[in-house]
């Protein structure tokens, strides 16, 4: 049994909550209930850029996938697919950023493009996390040895609680987003 899989799962929940929040805000704008808050979207995108893209994915590649591959060659295809998605992460996020900049410039006319880019990004992330949890986790539990888990867990735990950030910066960013996002998505005024 592994603490590292628990950590990955916890981080997935935080990422999923952020993605779900962005989707709800975009839906609120589409329905005319909310006005766009670009500062808030910027914070939410930054959270995704900082936590999953820079901390979470490299950890999966370097420790979990690297140990699993030699123990379970049949996982090669799915690992290759996931690693490619990790590599493409920044580029995919850049498309959302570009669409948001266009939305900011064009006003309401730019919403459709932004919404489409955002929804596409969110769906890809959901699929990605689902593949890890439904395919990689069971293979890892079956094929990795106690020695593997000890090494992976040590590496994950040495990472000093990345969900919080070394100085609590990610947790602070998360809290700020929760406080700013309008109710019922967050605690802010609607």
């Amino acid at each position: 049994m592994s603490q590292s899989l628990d950590i990955i799962h916890d981080e997935h929940r935080a990422i999923a909550a952020m993605l779900s929040g962005m989707r709800s805000l975009a839906a609120g704008i589409a329905a005319g209930r909310l006005k766009p808050d670009f500062g808030l979207f910027d914070d939410m995108l930054r959270y995704i850029e900082e936590v999953p893209e820079k901390v979470h994915h490299p950890k999966e590649n370097e420790f979990l996938f690297a140990r699993l591959l030699p123990r379970c060659p049949e996982a090669a295809a799915v690992i290759a697919e996931l690693e490619e998605e990790h590599r493409q992460g920044e580029a995919r996020m850049a498309l959302v950023r570009k669409a948001m900049a266009a939305y900011q410039q064009q006003g309401a006319a730019g919403f459709e493009g932004f919404n489409a880019a955002l929804v596409h990004y969110i769906e890809q992330e959901w699929k990605h996390m689902n593949t890890e949890e439904k395919q990689i986790f069971p293979l890892a539990r079956t094929h990795l040895t106690a020695e593997d888990w000890a090494a992976i867990d040590a590496a994950f735990l040495a990472n000093d609680n990345p969900w919080q950030g070394a100085a609590g910066e990610y947790a602070a960013l998360f809290t700020r987003i929760v406080n700013e996002a309008p109710a019922p998505v967050g605690l802010g005024g609607s």
């Binding site: 899989l5 999923a16 069971p138 998360f174 109710a183 019922p184 967050g186 605690l187």
Partner: protein
Amino acid sequence: MSNMLLEAKEVHTYYGASHILHGIDFHIRQGEGIALMGRNGMGKSTLIKSMLGIVRPRHGRVLVRGDDFTKAPTYKTAQRGIAYVPEGRGIFPNLSVRENLQMAARAGLDGRREWTFDRVMSTFPRLGERINNGGWQLSGGEQQMLTIGRALMTNPDLLILDEATEGLAPLIAMEIWRIVKEIRKTGIATVIVDKNHGAVTSICDRAMILVKGQVVFDGTSEAVRADPELIQKHLGV
């Protein structure tokens, strides 16, 4: 001296003719965290209410710190250092955030006052921004924070959270779980009733699963997380 805080022994509880709990055994010691899980209608909240004297078990015993509390009124249980955050919150809507918190303030059973007004404010900075607002003016997430803050003001040894994030958006729920995790680190024993097995098993060391008023699993949270079949069978939707 035993460090047992709360126990249920062979508890059977009924609502009218409906037999809800079928001989449940439960215990929690000082500092422990228990995730009490199960699908809707399996008896989780009824077990909590039976142990707190809100619903009377027809058979079995409830012990608080080793003393028989089976027939004790709820306030007596609260006075023994057990704080309850009920499903559906239950703040005082006509009182301000400050008043809701201050009226709950009291020393713990051993006289300690670790949870002060200021400490609750620093744990829930959002409440600080709403300090003079009436309870009725708070959003669902803020009300939940206030309810937890109010429970902490009693300086409890055991905090029971019943469906703490029910009906809240995922972002708010994650924030509440993060705060509860911090509270757990202070050593307060905690029972968390929730359907979100991922969240509660990451906070609690022990887990219990109820199915139709019976305990079908009592073990470590780690064992639950490593057993997708168990999760699918008893907690999956």
